[in-house]
Subunit: 138 residues, 3 copies
């Protein structure tokens, strides 16, 4: 069995962090897969997907860590060429990764109780994002 | 064909690095999948899974790199809120990632000779961890 | 349906970045999978796979970021033990990750228009690399 689902997000950019666990769970439920794999990805090179305990403190910590590792104020070659001033967002995306794959066991994502799948929009402006989820298994 | 396996690890926390390649290989063998994909994940938001040449020097290098990128001594917002003092572990987990997917070819994980799949426990105390592996293919 | 493909790359090492999107797309096309998942990995512990807008500015930015996060000139324990002087490459690989999984929807990789899958060779010498791709679905 293979099932595809999509969902959309409106983000504010600038390291805006969204919990997408419920949307993923919905697609897994629709798929009726009991054991298998789920894979979610965002089309775009200025966002990332990872897991985090989604609470305001950890979210703020993640935003500060990202700013420390890949500062937004530096001058990037990408910006010099394209003038879109979001070179930092491209780098953050390459570092964190734009897809996430996870086992599905007993019809549920293999995540911990305090572990959420988060979508982080690194771009320098509000964006409407479409994410694609594929669930395969039996 | 879809096959699910689980295994447990006792870790000491604090960036404890475990080679889980043999456990993964065992689940792939059990699955009888000759070509397909394997995906392993840890339930929990204070650990990570990646690949590394598993030898003492590289392990120590990884521990030092992680400490440099996400210092454990800093004050994190997560700790201020929850008082569990492991905010650094949550960030390290979000940076490294909590799952790993890899092709299975000719009945084996598509890994290099000196390349191991490692589980890293970032938490600030010993933990018993359960990992879930799904192998699908034919 | 499960389909496996491989392809080879000659790299110059030292953070050499290659766009492998076309090779991945070719394997997806060969597979005839319309909806499912693709997973690509490199056998080896001194390379990485991620996504990036593949243009000279962003490539140079990525190389500079990697150098900042994991400097090649530092002394690493791995080098002291093995004398192969590529400890930095092992760490960069563990940080970026050596595999990439992505949904396949309507027969195409779920990537953005300006988003490419890139292979980065972190080793300290030219290498011939073999990558394995598995596509599964229906």
């Amino acid at each position: 069995m293979v099932h595809t689902g999509t969902f959309e997000l409106s983000t504010s950019g600038f390291c805006d962090v969204h919990d997408i666990t419920a949307e993923l769970g919905r697609v897994v439920k629709e798929s009726r897969v009991r054991q298998g794999m789920a894979c979610v990805a965002c089309s775009g090179s200025t966002a990332g997907i990872t897991t985090l305990e989604f609470e305001p403190g950890a979210v703020k910590d993640l935003q500060e860590l990202i700013e420390k590792l890949v500062p937004h104020k530096r001058s990037y070659h990408h910006d010099a060429t394209w003038g879109d001033a979001n070179g930092f967002a491209h780098l953050r995306s390459a570092l964190i990764g734009t897809s996430f794959a996870v086992p599905v066991a007993e019809g549920r994502l293999a995540l911990g109780t305090w572990q959420q799948v988060v979508f982080v929009d690194f771009d320098n402006r509000p964006r409407n994002r479409r994410l694609t989820v594929v669930v395969s298994g039996e």
